[in-house]
């Protein structure tokens, strides 16, 4: 069993902590995990992307082959389109619908949404609204994890444990908010 995920977004959106929740949960659930990160320039605002591979056997490559990813998860709608070449025909795209317009030539928002709706298997998430409902505008990335959880081969209990592990330092309130964000995300169809 192997499960390949492309994670995408814009620098500063919390893509790495999103990745780390899934990776921690996957390891807890008994998978081998390899994850390539995007480091480098400290500034925000550039496109970022990471590869994550889960498997119960040996994983050699850190990179996922074109047309073979089981899932693309994106914190930004335009960025989700950028990484479609990696998605397998049976794969699913889980993406935020909240645009980050820090470039002059950002395409028409409706055009981006149209392109997304045409995909064979897609889950569009209004993470901004749901994060607010959960109690923190910053919990958008956990809403997205929640939305992805239905297709991930990882049980929700492991995801919650991972949230616990990663946010415990910040106090119980933060943990509860992120739990709620996960739950609200998981109800998106």
């Amino acid at each position: 069993m192997k499960y390949d995920i492309i994670l995408a977004g814009v620098g500063g959106q919390g893509v790495l902590s999103l990745a780390s929740v899934i990776a921690t949960a996957a390891a807890e659930a008994g998978f081998k995990v390899r994850q390539s990160e995007v480091h480098g320039m400290a500034q925000r605002g550039g496109a970022v992307m990471a590869h994550m591979r889960l498997s119960d056997g040996e994983i050699y490559s850190d990179l996922i082959g074109l047309g073979t990813a089981d899932m693309v998860i994106s914190m930004e709608p335009l960025e989700s389109l950028r990484y479609l070449p990696w998605l397998s025909p049976e794969g699913i795209l889980v993406t935020s619908t909240t645009p980050v317009k820090n470039i002059d030539n950002y395409p028409e928002e409706t055009q981006v949404l149209e392109a997304l709706k045409k995909l064979p298997s897609v889950c569009l998430v209004d993470d901004k609204a749901l994060a607010r409902d959960a109690g923190s505008a910053r919990a958008g990335n956990m809403v997205i994890v929640g939305a992805a959880s239905k297709s991930l081969p990882i049980d929700m209990t492991y995801l919650k444990k991972a949230v616990d592990k990663l946010f415990a330092r910040k106090g119980d309130e933060v943990v509860q908010t992120n739990y709620k964000a996960l739950d609200l995300g998981s109800q998106v169809s």
Binding site: V10, A23, E37, H39, G40, A42, G45, I59, N102
Partner: protein, 531 residues
């Protein structure tokens, strides 16, 4: 034995800590930065770990530790090895006592670098061994092994990483740590003084040890050769991450090729000959330059067909991927199954909103607009992003420290109103010597040190000297204080700053303007820590 999930860089750091390292030196540079960060964070009460002014000073400090008989590690990115090259090439001639491991992280694909150079050439150039891990586990083991090898052969050992490994996470098994070496100063000082007579003797000793290095590489289980007797058509040689991409695709091959992996250099010539004698065609997958490919083309019989980067079947540029090695293996290309017809605009990195450099560049830009002619050279750091729209100010970005010296050249060639932009950390790295040159020849340049009180681009390491000392350093070089001024890099002072810049441009001689305001990212982190 315990299992931990680490970055490739962190695996190296752990390998060093468990390998009995006593001193760790380096200069930050993506993708190598996290090695030192981990060492600094995890070496309390243990070995010394600290940043140096630049890669050359780091290398020389490590040589000092080795002279004292203790183990040392030096970390840098590939272009940093150019800075350290003088010390590195000479260090190879010394009688290395305490194990010395030089970790260099290459950046094929130029994720955040000015070039793609391949560090394996430096190992060959200096005639020292190089180890090249394919995953986090090997990165850990090879670092430990590197110290032993260095002590056994009496030479520095290079460890080559690439971005994809430095910045990928996976679990590793660790071994019990080894104690640090006792203090044990080199007993024969003739072997540490490179006067011509000694150097000639040391050079011939180094050449004499080549056969031991090759024997080591020939025997190393890392350089593994698997011969498939039933397939005499085609064999594969992999190096570095080429191994992973080969293994990833191997299952799809109907006729399993014989396979030699090379992770310890100098290359195992016997194993290569054995493999080559076995087949008609050789496929070579290596991360970086076609180093092995070019090397062995001369070793092998002419009839043998070599498939690799030289004929561009494997791309000569950028990283290897599980996809781009497929044609060389005779596998069909994989295509994107789902695609969108929209053309997607790029999204390059930008200066953070509110970055102090932004304010300084706006001052420069507006003053430039008043001038008939002007030139701006930039250096390596966040402020290099000022070259992208909407600012688009700098005209040259060459290498660390080169803004000041390039500006000198521009001015001396006859260009007017020449300005050099350089960061505080870069100024201390290798800008200072350029300032010495400018002062010595009285060049007509205006140097703008953008002092954000940190090494921002690599994540906010502290600069080697506190920023408050910069002005004194500049004064020490320039002698008088008249054309040295410190200004706040702030919107509030925009008009005054413009006026000051105009005045310094009008002065014909060296001026230094230090524009100060802390990077908002490090300020934010510091605030968080306090609260």
């Amino acid at each position: 034995m315990s299992e931990t999930v680490v970055l490739g860089d962190e695996a190296v750091a752990l390998g060093a800590l468990h390998g009995g390292v006593s001193s760790c030196y380096g200069y930050p540079g993506t993708p190598s930065t996290e090695i030192m960060e981990y060492l600094i964070e995890n070496s309390q009460n243990g070995p010394l770990a600290s940043w140096s002014s630049n890669e050359k000073t780091a290398m020389e400090e490590a040589l000092g530790t080795s002279f004292a008989g203790k183990r040392a590690i030096v970390t840098m990115k590939h272009v940093g090895l150019n800075v350290a090259a003088d010390a590195f090439m000479n260090g190879a001639l010394l009688d290395i006592r305490g194990g010395l491991v030089i970790v260099v992280a290459d950046d094929p694909g130029m994720h955040s670098s000015q070039n793609e150079q391949d560090t394996r050439y430096y190992a060959d150039f200096a005639r020292v061994p190089l180890l090249e891990p394919v995953n986090q586990q090997q990165a850990y083991e090879m670092t430990r092994e590197g110290f032993d090898l260095s002590e056994r052969m009496g030479v520095p050992v290079l460890l080559r990483l690439v971005t994809r490994l430095s910045h990928s996470r996976a679990a590793i098994q660790t071994q019990p740590p080894r104690a640090e070496n006792a203090l044990n100063k080199a007993d024969n000082k003739q072997d540490w003084m490179l006067l011509p007579a000694n150097a000639r003797r040391r050079w011939s000793s180094l050449l004499g040890r080549q056969k031991d290095m090759i024997a080591y590489s020939e025997k190393s289980p890392v350089n593994s050769l698997e011969l498939n007797e039933s397939n005499r058509e085609r064999a594969v040689i992999t190096t570095g991450l080429g191994y992973n991409y080969f293994m990833e695709n191997k299952g799809e091959l109907t006729d399993q090729p014989s396979h030699l992996h090379i992770g310890v250099y100098p290359v195992p010539e016997e194993k290569i000959r054995t493999l080559a004698a076995h087949v008609k065609k050789l496929v070579i997958l290596e991360e970086g330059y076609p180093y092995v490919e070019r090397l062995i083309a001369g070793l092998l019989p002419r009839e043998l067909k070599i498939i690799g980067k030289l004929d561009n079947i494997v791309p000569l540029q950028g990283e290897l991927t599980p996809d781009n090695v497929r044609p060389a293996l005779g596998l069909p290309e994989r295509n994107a199954a789902v695609a969108s017809s929209m053309t997607l605009p790029g999204r390059p990195p930008q200066l953070c909103a509110g970055c102090p450099h932004d304010d300084t560049y706006k001052v420069i830009k507006e003053v430039q607009e008043e001038l008939e002619e002007s030139t701006v050279t930039s250096d390596i750091g966040c402020y290099a992003l000022g070259a992208l729209p909407p600012l688009g100010v700098p005209e040259t970005i060459i290498c660390m420290g080169a803004s000041i010296t390039a500006a000198k050249g521009c001015a001396e060639a006859g260009l007017k109103n020449v300005m050099a932009v350089i960061g505080d950390s870069t100024f201390l790295h290798s800008g200072m010597t350029g300032l010495v040159d400018c002062v010595s020849s009285g060049s007509d340049v205006t140097i703008i040190i953008v002092d954000n009180e940190t090494t921002a681009m690599t994540g906010g390491q502290t600069t080697i000297l506190p920023s408050s000392r910069l002005e004194q350093v500049v004064k020490g070089i320039m002698g008088d204080g008249e054309h040295i001024l410190t200004i706040p890099a702030h919107r509030k002072s925009h008009e005054e700053n413009k006026e000051k810049l105009r005045k310094e441009l009008a002065y014909s001689g060296v001026s230094v303007i230090i524009a100060v305001r802390e990077c908002i990212e490090t300020a934010r982190k510091a605030n968080k820590k306090r609260s």
